[in-house]
C-alpha cells in the first residue's frame, strides 16, 4: 500500500534536480572568491616577507616594500572610525529609540539609504569640495578619512539600528514600567544587548574603508611618499592607491609586486573580519536570553 506512484517519482526527481541546481549556483557564487584568493596566494606569495612588509618602496616603486602604505591605511581607517562610529551610532540610537515615526524620520531614513547608493567617486569629489577646500584641511589624512567616514556612515547606521531593534521590546517595557528614562533603558539594557551587532557594522566598515581607492586619491592619499605621516594633517600613502599606482601608472614593475600588495591588503581585511567574527561569537555566547 505504500508503493511510490508515478507522480511521487516525478515529484522526487524534481526535488533532487532543484537541489542540485541550487547547490551549483552556490558553488558558482563562491568560485570567484576562491579563484581570487588562490591566484593572489600563488602569484603574490613569493613577494611576501618581513622585509616587504616593513620597508619602503624603492627604485621608482619597482622594488622594496609597502610599509608607508600599510601604516597609511591604518591611519586612514582609524581616523575614519573615530569620526563615523560616534556619529553613526548616535544617529542610529536616535532613530531607533527616540524619534517618533513621522515624515522627518522617514525622510532621514530615505536619505541614509540614498547615501549608501552614492558612487564612491562622487564621495571623493564631495570630499575635495567639503573637507579639502571648504574646511581647508588640505589634502590630508583628516580630509581623506572624513570622506571615507561619510561614505561608510550608512553601513554603521543601518547595522546599529538593526541590532538595536533586535532587542526585544519587552525589555524596554520592563524598564519603562519601573520608571527608567529612555536613556537609562538604552544604557543599561538596550546597548549591552546589541553591542555585538553594532561591532559587526563597525568591522564591515573597516573592511570597506581599507579597500576604497577613489575617495582617498584626491583627498589625502599620495602617489609616492617614502616616509610615515606624523599627524592627521599630513598626506600619506595607502595600500589601495599604491596597488592602483604600481599596477597601472608605473612602468617596469615586476609581476609579483602588485600581487603581493593585493595579498597584504586582502590579508588585512580578512584578519579584521576574522577578529570580528571571533569577538561576535564571544559576545553571543554571553548573551543572556
Amino acid at each position: 500500500m505504500f508503493e511510490a506512484t508515478n507522480r511521487n517519482r516525478w515529484a522526487r526527481r524534481n526535488q533532487s534536480l532543484i537541489g542540485a541546481l541550487l547547490g551549483f549556483m552556490t558553488f558558482v557564487l563562491i568560485l570567484p572568491v576562491l579563484i581570487i584568493l588562490g591566484v593572489l596566494v600563488v602569484e603574490g606569495g613569493p613577494a611576501i616577507s618581513w622585509e616587504f612588509l616593513f620597508s619602503e618602496p624603492t627604485q621608482g616603486m619597482t622594488a622594496g616594500g609597502v610599509f608607508p602604505a600599510l601604516v597609511g591605511t591604518i591611519w586612514l581607517v582609524v581616523v575614519a572610525l573615530l569620526a563615523s562610529v560616534p556619529l553613526g551610532v548616535a544617529a542610529a540610537i536616535y532613530l531607533s529609540e527616540y524619534a517618533s515615526d513621522n515624515w522627518l524620520t522617514r525622510f532621514i531614513n530615505l536619505a541614509i539609504i540614498n547615501l549608501a547608493g552614492v558612487p564612491s567617486i562622487v564621495h571623493a569629489l564631495f570630499g575635495v569640495g567639503a573637507f579639502v577646500l571648504f574646511f581647508n584641511f588640505g589634502t590630508s589624512i583628516l580630509a581623506a578619512s572624513l570622506t571615507l567616514a561619510v561614505m561608510t556612515l550608512p553601513v554603521v547606521i543601518v547595522a546599529t539600528r538593526e541590532s538595536l531593534q533586535a532587542v526585544p521590546q519587552a525589555f524596554r517595557e520592563a524598564c519603562w514600567s519601573m520608571g527608567a528614562t529612555r536613556w537609562q533603558t538604552i544604557r543599561k539594557v538596550v546597548l549591552p544587548n546589541s553591542i555585538s551587532g553594532i561591532l559587526t557594522g563597525v568591522i564591515l566598515e573597516v573592511s570597506r574603508t581599507a579597500g576604497e581607492t577613489a575617495p582617498i586619491m584626491f583627498t589625502g592619499a599620495a602617489f609616492f611618499l617614502p616616509f610615515l605621516p606624523q599627524g592627521v594633517l599630513d598626506q600619506t600613502m595607502a595600500m589601495s592607491l599604491h596597488l592602483f599606482v604600481i599596477s597601472t601608472q608605473v612602468p617596469g614593475v615586476p609581476e609579483h609586486l602588485p600581487y603581493g600588495v593585493a595579498l597584504v591588503l586582502i590579508g588585512m581585511v580578512l584578519s579584521m573580519n576574522a577578529i570580528s567574527i571571533a569577538f561576535r561569537m564571544y559576545l553571543r555566547g554571553k548573551k543572556k536570553w
Binding site: 520592563a174 519601573m178 520608571g179 543599561k188
Partner: protein, 256 residues
Amino acid sequence: MTMKIAIETHDLSFWYGDFQALFDVNLSIKHGRITSLIGPSGCGKSTLLRSINRINERIGNARSTGQILIHGHDILAPEVELLQVRKEVGMVFQRPNPLPLSIRDNVLFGYRLHHGKRGLKSSERDRIVEKALSKVLLWDSVKDRLDHTATQLSLEEQQKLCIARLLPVQPEVLLMDEPCSALDPSATEAVEELVWDLRDQFTIVLVTHNMAQARRASDECIFMLLGKVIEHSETGEMFVNPSCQETADYIEGRYG
C-alpha cells in the same frame, strides 16, 4: 464600612489615532483589594490598565481625555512627573520579562533607578534582595544562585521575580496584564496564590481572560465591552447574580 479609594477615573476616554478604545470610563478601585478587569478581546481592558501607569503613551498617536486619580492626585496633570507615577504604579506583563541581568540585579534594578547606586551598602543591598524575594516565595529556591541570569529561571520563577523587582520601591498599585496566561496550570496556581497574599499591602488591578481566575482570585470585577464599563461589582455578586444581560452572557461563555 467605607474603604479607601486608590484609583479613580473621571470620564476617561482614550484614542489610538482615530480609533477610540475607551469611552467615558468612570471607576473607583478600592485600596487593598484585587480588582479584575474582564471582557472579550479588544474591549479596552488592557488599554485601561496600561493607562494607569501611562505606558500607553509610548505608542505614537495615543491620546486621552479625562482624569485618572491615584490617591486623589491626577496623574494626567501636566506638572506630574511620569517617573514618579511609574514608581508608585508597578506593572507585571503577560509574558514574564525579567531583564537579561542577574537575579540580584533584576531585584535591585528599580531600586537603583530611584535611589541611585551610591550609598547602598552591600548589607543593605542583600537585605533588600532577600526581603523582596522572600515576599514572592522565591528566596529559598534562588538564594544560592543570585548571580545567575534571570532568564534561565522557569517561567513561574520569572514571573515571581517580575513581581519581586517592583517591591523594593514600595509601589502603591500593582497592575497585572494577564500575568498567568503564559504559565502552566500549577505555575498559575502558585502565582495566583502569591497575588492573593499580596493584596492587603497593595491595590492590585488584574486583567484576565480566564473567568475562573477572575472568580477565584479577585475581590471585585469590572466587566468591559467595546471600550465601556458595563458592570462593576463584588466578584461573588457578579458571578452569581450579574445585573446586566451582557455580563451574564459573557460569563456563561456565549461570546468572548
